[in-house]
Symmetry: C2
Subunit: 352 residues, 2 copies
DNA sequence: CGATCTCTTGAGGGGCCTCAAGAGTTGTGG
DNA sequence: CCACAACTCTTGAGGCCCCTCAAGAGATCG
């Protein structure tokens, strides 16, 4: 019942690390350092899935893909490409040629594993001959039993625990999961080519995230990182899509959620474009307090200065200076990383 | 068959202007300069709809609403409140007390008329005893005949022509229509309390707009203004909601559209937060060129400097200086308002 | 043809970014 | 458990980008 995975990758370090992750996840792993050896090993012991770098000496990823298609014994084995970030534009070529998915390096454990899982699951469905059409989908759905609800799906989905600073998903990779934050804190952020980072959203208990990429059916344009140790429920993308298709109520909720997101972002845009740093910092503090310490009169929040700076859209030093100002105006008090808001009213009124 | 509208408003200018608009739209209009006179006139000649200012001498809007409810002869007449922007927080009170809608002053012609139309239409449905539940909705739908499609709705909806600088809808008002731009150009923008304006989106032929407020079921948080004489199809909100409810394909499209909007906005956020003015201006120029002159090698675009500045999120003077720089670098040429992009490649590469 | 609006250029200054360096805190491995 | 490394936080100095105010030129409109 253990699935066999063939990993073809020329870089020793990446190959060994990746193999280790896979073995820890109870897969049987074969490795090969180039395409030629990979194909030989595949013929020797037919794998259930192949993970393959694109840029390799001797025989590259495209070559492997081509040979797989040609060889009857190997045709039908799903293949996932590994690509470096810089080669991302090449991936279309791979997808067009018939690769089933791709992962960009560097990738997080969960990205690797969820890509594999979702591919193996699809393969299994294919083998049991469900039609891949929307009709087949609903057929599948009824095969599952009664009508799905969001709750039932959440209860039946896997739960993963993440530590501080761990990445949940990375910009540029393709989504395979919908994430639901059961406890802890997560942020999503985008970065520009100067390496500057802007925090897009802050997530707390009960929030979903990673859905825009799924809904748009495109690669992530943002990364998600854990800021406080978190328990995350991972819902397979297909389950989510089925739910969306079968349950009009859920569609409606999603539409409202998205519309709300758009409105909030527009306000943030206006603020970042024209408001002074003081206003933006005040806004960041109040937003965080309302999000994570709702109802408190003098809430305390604890975030790294860098995180705060990225939320306000400024440099770390500038943020610190503004905090010092606030402190000397008795708007806040600082104890280490923790900031207590002493005058919510005044801070709130500063924003507009 | 002409509907009778009673307009209660103490400000002479507003009352007369509004009455004029209503008469031009073939309504029979009675006017009153305060609540007391209004109620008397209402008793004399029962109107189909009452539009009523809130802040008034003698008897204010809340008083009118209260008396309407008490008087058997007048109960059931729909009432729309007029409120000044500053009083907006008060509107909840009015809605809770039983007002059917509200319009904030200043309002555009189309906002006034669409609020009235949609209210009268709802009243008519109420009179013909359709249940106001979702089930009643679908009942209504089948009463209309076959399944609706977006196309059929667009073809059967009213078409309005707008001139340059006309507002389509204004921030703070409640939505009654979905808009479809058949020709011309429209922008949507938000402004902060310093009066600074940021352009959110630019719309061209074939674009929908004004949907986020409808979908979120909230007041507009942005305004829409025509920049090039436009022909706009107005779809009543209810038709749109019905379509959404009855047609899963449309829901899916909308979800994808919204997700795409979110992604684009996130990129814009990053750009405005950290990119230099040069980059932002280059980005604005390229975006406009791609939107309105797709495929051109050396596209010419024509927008006021102020509009351009609001797109880039900067002051008009700063924008002009940057344009001068670009001109001296032979990236663009300027002829009056019109800007021709001479080196799309270099401009595009500047952005990232 | 004057009034009004838009575009452009100049001068000045302030907000915020960057670089730098020291203090404080956290993590780690012998 | 301590010493050292690595990271985070804080403050200073310098300067640039871009905003603001101002004023004139050009365009548009009734």
């Amino acid at each position: 019942m253990k699935e066999r995975i063939l990993l073809i990758e020329d870089n020793n370090e990446i190959r060994e690390n990746t193999a280790e992750i896979l073995e820890l996840s109870a897969y049987i792993v074969d490795t090969a350092e180039n395409g030629k050896i990979g194909i030989e090993k595949a013929l020797l012991q037919k794998p259930d899935l192949i993970i393959c770098d694109i840029m390799m000496p001797v025989l590259d990823g495209y070559g492997v893909l081509h040979l797989l298609g040609k060889n009857e014994k190997l045709a039908g084995i799903p293949l996932i490409f590994l690509t470096a970030k810089s080669e991302r534009s090449d991936f279309r070529k791979g997808m067009e040629m018939g690769a089933d998915d791709y992962i960009t390096k560097p990738f997080t454990d969960i990205e690797l594993l969820s890509a594999i899982e979702s591919r193996l699951k699809k393969q299994k469905i294919k083998d049991t001959n469900f039609a891949p059409t929307p009709e087949g989908m609903t057929e599948m759905l009824s095969a599952f039993g009664e009508k799905k609800t969001l709750e039932s799906i959440l209860n039946n989905s896997e739960e993963v625990s993440f530590q501080k600073k761990q990445l949940v998903y990375r910009e540029g990779n393709r989504p395979h999961m919908l994430y639901f934050l059961k406890s802890g804190k997560v942020k999503t952020f985008i970065s520009n080519d100067d390496g500057k980072v802007l925090t897009n959203s802050l997530l707390g208990e009960g929030d979903f995230f990673g859905y825009t990429a799924l809904l748009e059916d495109a690669a992530y344009h943002e990364s998600a990182e854990v800021i406080d140790d978190a328990l995350i429920v991972t819902v397979p993308a297909d389950e989510f899509r089925l739910l969306l298709q079968s349950n009009a109520e859920v569609s409606k909720k999603i539409i409202q959620l998205l519309s709300k997101n758009i409105r909030e972002q527009e306000e943030k845009l206006l603020s970042i474009a024209y408001n002074s740093l003081r206003k933006r910092v005040a806004s960041a503090l109040v937003t965080l307090a309302n999000k994570y310490e709702p109802g408190e009169e003098n809430p305390s929040i604890s975030f790294s200065r860098e995180d705060l700076a990225n939320i306000a859209g400024t440099a770390t030093e500038s943020l610190i200076r503004t905090l010092s100002d606030f402190k000397s105006e008795s708007l806040i008090s600082i104890a280490g990383t923790s900031i207590q808001l002493l005058n919510m009213k005044k801070l709130t009124s500063m924003i507009n």
